[in-house]
Symmetry: C2
Subunit: 241 residues, 2 copies
DNA sequence: GTTTAGTGTTCCGCATAGCGGAATAATAAG
DNA sequence: CTTATTATTCCGCTATGCGGAACACTAAAC
């Protein structure tokens, strides 16, 4: 039990409902109350109250006749509202799409979410096939380019590994972090961290492709500098320093 | 207070937390506790408990130094999980992208959410500019093509307007619903309803473009029949009847 | 510099919302 | 027909959460 959970302000009933929703994973089509009880550790009657309330507000839908649940439209609506609340995104849309078209690689925005860098927005080159990653995909913080860029830019990071130190130096000297097969042996990528407001989770813009499509020279001489410059232009446009 | 809210199974604390998140609208960058109190009608101390709990679980982020909140990465993560739970989407990706490329119009999947048809997934033609609509946008049920297609396919609809009756007949005879500027005077569109499991909100696939790019002949002779056939092929691939 | 207004946060007495074990109901498998 | 599993409901009990008031801080107005 964390500090927040012990705090008298903590609303445990709200937390339980959120945990029930978070029990759903991307590969799940539907889950019954019993499976939700197993995954969350809650008694079935507690789960039944949570699912009843969530379903009445559109956060879950109960399928018939199986009586299993799936995440409902209110969840998706909130997700889109959350993304729409990222005020810099409209300004990023065109320049990142142009970058994807010019370089022929996948461009994406990722956001830290727990132990992962989660893809929040993707821009695909319109005239080339691109990496299979899409929005919602989670990349490990320690191995992926965006994860490492976020960690390298973090001034409070204390448990610094050799890799993190090298990434921080690379970020300071070149303005981006590069990964050759760091997360997936067949994928090369680069990333530039992007911080918005204090108190919020950090972002990183990334470019990535299969190694066969994105060799060392193209990555280091073309794509990574272009990404760094595009993100810097975006910062200036937004009045960020 | 609805029937569900009076039910003893209803967890009002969970509902309050969800209402706080739903107080955020797509144009909001951040909201303070007082504004959340105003929007939800809850006392400030109740809102403070909800925001404290939501922030501790990543559903809200508190910005510094303004102390205002924005929706956090856990909301976006759940939204992507919800979309990933739509098991038919992977199979729709390629055929709908191809349809967008072939016809040069925006193709999208929408889902009923309250009084709106909410765009859940968009496919843009890669070699043409397209309609400005994107994921999360909400179209009115009574005026938009997808809204009308969903209503026309609804066997339980009782308050049938003249438009709904005409749409139902069009759907039955042609397999799609067409809208000339029904939602926006400069936009033409067609839609085909798509039902998945019983108990869940209905979907509709739609094609739309500016009227200057999508005239009557192209819509009726090319795009609408193609959409209907593509959705029908998708149903068969999924084993739906 | 003082006063006023607005915001965010915390406190605490109170009572009801929510808990969870047990019972009930339904369906599927053996 | 019996057993196993799931879903749902009940209800006595108490801990969770409520909200008005107080407190703290900052900014604007005078």
């Amino acid at each position: 039990m964390s500090d927040a959970e012990r705090d008298r302000r903590f609303a445990s009933t709200l937390a339980k409902g959120l945990q029930v929703m978070q029990a759903f994973k991307p590969g799940d089509v539907s889950l019954g109350n019993r499976e939700l009880a197993r995954r969350t550790g809650m008694p079935p009657s507690t789960v039944a109250r949570m699912t009843f309330t969530l379903a009445s507000m559109g956060f879950l839908e109960q399928l018939h006749p199986s009586e299993a649940y799936r995440l409902g439209p209110s969840v998706m609506a909130l997700g889109y509202t959350a993304r729409a609340g990222l005020s810099f995104l409209p300004m990023a849309e065109n320049v990142m799409q142009q970058l994807a078209d010019d370089t022929g690689v996948l461009v994406a925005l990722s956001m830290r979410h727990g132990d992962a860098a989660m893809l929040t927005r993707c821009w695909r080159p319109r005239n080339a096939s691109s990496l299979w990653l899409s929005e919602g995909h989670r990349l490990p913080m320690e191995q992926s380019a965006p994860g490492r860029a976020i960690l390298a830019a973090d001034p409070t990071l204390v448990a610094e590994t050799e890799q993190a130190r090298a990434d921080r130096e690379q970020l300071e000297s070149r303005g981006y972090v590069i990964s050759y097969g760091g997360w997936n042996s067949g994928v090369n990528a680069c990333a530039v961290p992007f911080q918005t407001a204090l108190g919020t989770q950090p972002f990183a813009f990334l470019c990535g492709a299969n190694a066969s499509d994105l060799n060392t020279e193209k990555l280091e001489r073309v794509v990574a500098p272009r990404l760094r410059d595009t993100v810097q232009t975006l910062r200036h446009s937004l009045g960020y320093m």
